[in-house]
């Protein structure tokens, strides 16, 4: 276990035509000992490249990577004491599950065969795959292969766990199960973990913190709720959250934001926030869009599509030519083509400078503690 420091990491690839592609640019991250950090972003954002640089599978073009006090930037993967779980599991096809899990120990330690077996069986028990140890990868299902790949990482007792989209080949149900399992394992083992995914649900649910990347640049690093409620820029606001935040392009006109679709009156802090900007993007999350009963401070919209999810409905609306998604309670019966009034409460809106994309103001976030039962330790009421 160790702290990971990444300072100004840069990775360039040279193409066949001699041009450089900047995959990661000046990335700095600091992971505490035992932390679970999720690197998230769209395809080609540089998240896997960053992970491969941490693993030592890619030489860096600039910057420094340290595990604890040790500079590992120029070390080979075998010298770093990391364990990695790959997207396609990368199990050795000619070895049994036991062989796969013990292989790293065989190569990196002086443990006897019995000791290696003991470690493998202990990890197998933890993952519930004791009965599969003598099977070869081709005899295992995707989920079982995934568990063996995790076991291979666990038995090494590495300083750092690296996981490259390890759940993306599993079906939705198994993915949810494995998500919880990985979280539990990481928490039990306390090994510093870097986890790469393009799935923002995984990012939100698994990490202590998430680092959002785009175009090789770090956009924001923070807790999942920070990134959700206080996005640093338009990209993060758009990427985190499902369905995505709704956006309106507007211009500042006195005390109001005026766009093709809406005219939105601002007050107080929001007016100060937009004082230096000319063009402003107004954002509001689907769950913050209110269906209004009066026309006051509301905008007319037409329901185009209804997505019933059970607990809630997603309404896809046309508001003055802009697509707006609203999340309303599942009990509402909404028909397509209905005309409704929608309101965006000022406390719930986000404002971004349209030119730089940087946030000007975020929604007011109220956090509350979940009520917990107390005094239930066996006392009869």
């Amino acid at each position: 276990m160790s702290r990971i420091e990444i300072d100004n990491l840069t990775k360039r690839y040279r193409t066949g035509s001699g041009d450089d592609i900047l995959a990661v640019e000046d990335l700095s991250l600091d992971l505490a000992d035992g932390e679970f950090l999720v690197l998230v972003g769209p395809s080609g954002c540089g998240k896997s490249t960053t992970l491969r640089c941490i693993a030592g599978l890619e030489p860096v073009s600039g910057g420094e990577i340290r595990f604890g006090d040790a500079d590992v930037t120029d070390r080979t993967p075998e010298e770093r004491n990391v364990a990695m779980v790959f997207q396609n599991y990368a199990l050795y096809p000619h070895m049994t599950a036991r062989g796969n899990m013990a292989f790293g120990l065989r190569m990196t330690t002086d443990l006897s065969k019995e000791e290696r077996n003991e470690r493998v069986e202990s990890a197998a028990r933890m993952l519930g795959i004791e009965d599969l140890l003598d099977d070869k990868p081709k005899e295992l299902s995707g989920g079982q292969q995934q568990r063996v790949a995790l076991g291979r990482a666990i038995v090494r007792k590495p300083e750092v766990f690296l996981m490259d989209e390890p759940l993306s080949n599993l079906d939705a149900k198994l993915r949810t199960t494995m998500r919880t399992e990985i979280q539990r394992l990481q928490s039990d083992l306390g090994v510093t973990t870097v986890y790469v995914t393009h799935d923002q649900t995984e990012a939100m649910t698994m990490g202590d913190r998430i680092a959002v990347l785009d175009g090789g640049e770090l956009q924001q690093v923070g807790t999942p709720l920070e990134c959700y409620y206080e996005p640093a820029n338009l990209f993060v606001a758009n990427f985190i959250g499902e369905p995505s935040m709704n956006f309106f392009e507007t211009e500042v006109a006195g005390d109001a934001l005026v766009g093709d679709a809406i005219r939105y009156e601002l007050s107080g802090d929001h007016l100060d926030a937009v004082a230096e900007s000319e063009r402003v993007t107004l954002g509001v999350r689907p769950e913050d869009v209110e269906i209004a009963e009066t026309r006051r401070d509301a905008f007319a919209g037409t329901v185009r599509v209804v997505e019933p999810m059970g607990d809630q409905n997603f309404l896809h609306l046309d508001v003055g030519g802009v697509d707006v998604t609203a999340a309303v309670a599942g009990e509402y019966e909404v028909r397509e083509g209905a005309n409704v009034m929608v309101r965006f409460p000022e406390a719930k809106i986000h404002l971004f400078d349209a030119d730089s994309g940087e946030v000007l103001a975020n929604c007011r976030r109220h956090s509350a503690q979940l009520p917990t039962a107390t005094g239930t330790g066996g006392e009869a009421a």
Partner: protein, 286 residues
């Protein structure tokens, strides 16, 4: 009634293509087996039957006399031993040279890689007959004429390009994730090759080995150029030496040919499982 009717028509529909398929197989088998069977038939005939008319495919009276003559009066067993020695050492040499080379071409990006690969392929296009004279001179200067070592080195040199390309295609089918997993598991490049990739590429190595064994066994031009002493002959030159200046006993040549074929057939039957597996995997994955 209707059930019976449909069952019968299903059989009819199935049997026509199946019959046609077997007919094609049978034609191909006859096409390829006929010359072999003809040689076997000839080796078992009485002296007067070889050129008799009408042609007798199955000999009226079988005799093993030609086989006895080949084994007693010629150096056939020595030649078979020589061929085995040369073929095995050539195969070992080829595998030792081409496995790391194919691994490097498959896995490493280096300046001029494409040009080198193209050059290797280009060399394969040159017929050995074209370069036989300069090769003879080189062998003479290196004092390798009339040595098996010289012939083995020549074979390795000639077969390296084809073998590299063949083996590279097998390495290309193995996901690079395996190399990376091995490196993260603590393997050096060489350990990755030995412990992780070689077992996966084994069918490809088997194909390379069998192709080269057959090549070495059947090769004539280079062997004829390098070797002149009959004790050093390989099977292919040995067969040629049965040709007399004025006459030739075809029965003896046929018997010698059957004996020469035997080790190859035994080896192929023994290894055909790996050979077919290797070919199929290469075809599907490549």
């Amino acid at each position: 009634m209707s059930g019976r009717y449909s069952a019968e028509s299903a059989v009819d529909r199935l049997s026509a293509p199946v019959a046609l398929t077997y007919l094609v197989y049978a034609t191909a088998a006859v096409f390829f087996l006929f010359p072999v069977l003809w040689v076997v038939s000839m080796s078992l005939r009485q002296p007067g039957e070889v050129l008799s008319y009408p042609v007798q495919f199955v000999p009226r009276r079988v005799t093993l006399d030609p086989y006895v003559r080949v084994l007693q009066d010629s150096g056939m067993l020595t030649w078979i031993f020589n061929s085995l020695k040369i073929a095995i050492l050539e195969v070992v040499g080829i595998v030792l040279v081409t496995t790391p080379a194919a691994y490097a071409f498959s896995r490493f990006d280096f300046r001029g890689k494409r040009h080198v690969l193209f050059g290797v392929l280009l060399f394969q296009m040159i017929s050995p007959v074209v370069i036989v004279i300069p090769l003879y001179n080189m062998m003479a200067q290196l004092n390798l004429l009339d040595t098996h070592l010289g012939l083995i080195l020549l074979y390795i040199g000639l077969q390296v390009p084809f073998s590299i390309w063949l083996l590279k295609s097998y390495f290309d089918t193995i996901p690079e994730g395996l190399d990376e997993a091995a490196r993260v598991d603590g393997c050096s490049r060489l350990q990755t090759l030995i412990y992780v990739l070689l077992p996966s590429v084994a069918p490809g190595i088997a194909v390379v080995a069998i192709f080269n064994f057959v090549f070495s066994w059947a090769e004539f031009v280079m062997a004829f150029t390098v070797l002149s002493e009959s004790d050093l002959y390989t099977v292919s030159i040995g067969l040629f030496s049965f040709q007399g200046q004025y006459s030739m006993d075809w029965r003896v040549v046929a018997a010698a040919s059957v004996i020469a074929m035997a080790p190859l057939l035994v080896m192929f039957v023994a290894l055909q499982r790996y050979f077919v597996k290797g070919l199929v995997e290469g075809a599907v994955k490549g």
